[in-house]
Amino acid sequence: MTGGQAESDEELARSVQRGDRQALERLVRRYVRPVHAVVAAFLTEREAIEDASQETFLRALQALGRYDSRRPFAPWLYQIARNVARNQRAAEGVRRAEPFPADGPAAREPPPDVAAERSEMRTRIEERLMRLPEQRRTAFRLVDVEGMSAEEAGRIMDLSPGTVRSHVHHARRQLRQILGEYAGDTRNTVTRKSATGNKGG
C-alpha cells in the first residue's frame, strides 16, 4: 500500500500532528480501503461498515496527539479500526449477513439458479466467517477476499507473514467444511424435489 511512496505513513502522521490538512487527506486516501476491509471482517452491512470506517478515521485523528511516530502507523490504525468495529458489532448484535453489494448489477448477471446458489453459499460462508476467531477472520478477509499478500496483511495486523498464512490456512479449512454441509443439503433438496415431481407426474 505504501511501497515506493515518497512520504512514509509516519512522516505523514507527523505532518498531521502539526496541522497539515493535505497530509491528513493523503493518509486517509492511503488507508480508506484497508480500513474498510478490516471493518468488513467484523460487520456485514454496508452502511455499518461505512460508518465504522469513518469513525475509525475520526478517532484516529483525535488520538493522533498521543501517537508515537517512531512506531509503525498501520498497526496503530488497525487497532483503532478493530476496536470501533468490535464495539459497533457488540452494540448492534450480529445480524444476518447481507452480501455487501447484494443490490449491485453484478448480482443480477448470472442465471437465476446460479445466482441463488451463489447467494446461498455466500450467506453461509459469511455467517461461518463471522464465527471464526477474530484474527483468523481478519486475515482471511484481507488475503482471500481483498487479495492482499500475507506481507501486506501482516504489516497492517502487526503479525508475521507466516502467522497470517497460518490464519488463512485454518480459515480456509474451516470454511471448506461448509461445502460438505451444503452438498448434503443440496442432495436432500434434489431428492425431495425428485420425489415430489415423481408423485405429481
Binding site: G19, V28, R66, D144, E146, G147, V168, L179
Partner: protein
C-alpha cells in the same frame, strides 16, 4: 494476490466469497475520503498535535540522555575541583623567592628575624647560611631551614 503464496489449503471458489471491495482507484473511495475530510476538525487538532507529541518526545529524549548528561556533569565538577585546588596547594607548599626577598627587606636583613617571620626558630649563623644558600639557588629544593624543620 494470495494465489501465488503457499497457504497449505486451496482457496475457496471466488464466487462464494464475500464481494471484494472496489479497487483503490475507484471513485467510491474519493467520496469516502471527502466524507472523512468533511468531518475532520483539523483546526482543533492542531494545538493538541503540537503540544502532545513535542512534550512526549522532549521527555523521552531526556529519559534517553540523562545518564550520559549526569556523567558529563560529574566529570566537569571533578575537573573544576582539581583546577581550583592545584594553585591553592602550590601556593601553600612553596614560598616564592619574591615574597622571601620582601620579607628580608621587612626584617631589615636580619636572618634570624627573617626565619622567625617564617615561624622557624633559627641559629644566627645557620640562618645566615641558609638564606645565602637559598638566594644562590633561587628556590629551595627541599626543607632547607636553619633548624631542619619545615616552615609553617
Amino acid at each position: 494476490m494470495s494465489d501465488d503464496e503457499d497457504f497449505g489449503a486451496p482457496p475457496l471458489p471466488r464466487e462464494w466469497l464475500p464481494e471484494r471491495l472496489p479497487p483503490e482507484e475507484d471513485a467510491v473511495w474519493d467520496e469516502r475520503v471527502a466524507r472523512v475530510m468533511a468531518a475532520a476538525p483539523l483546526e482543533g487538532r492542531r494545538a493538541e498535535g503540537r503540544s502532545g507529541p513535542d512534550q512526549t518526545s522532549w521527555l523521552s529524549e531526556m529519559g534517553r540522555w540523562w545518564r550520559p548528561a549526569a556523567a558529563l556533569g560529574a566529570a566537569a565538577v571533578v575537573a573544576l575541583i582539581l583546577v581550583v585546588e592545584e594553585p591553592e596547594r602550590t601556593r601553600s607548599s612553596a614560598v616564592p623567592a619574591e615574597a622571601l626577598a620582601l620579607t628580608v627587606v621587612a626584617t631589615d636583613g636580619d636572618p634570624v628575624a627573617l626565619w622567625a617571620a617564617l615561624g622557624v626558630a633559627a641559629d644566627p649563623l645557620l640562618a645566615l647560611l641558609a638564606l645565602e644558600n637559598h638566594e644562590a639557588i633561587g628556590a629551595p629544593s627541599g626543607p632547607s631551614t636553619p633548624s631542619g624543620r619545615e616552615p609553617r
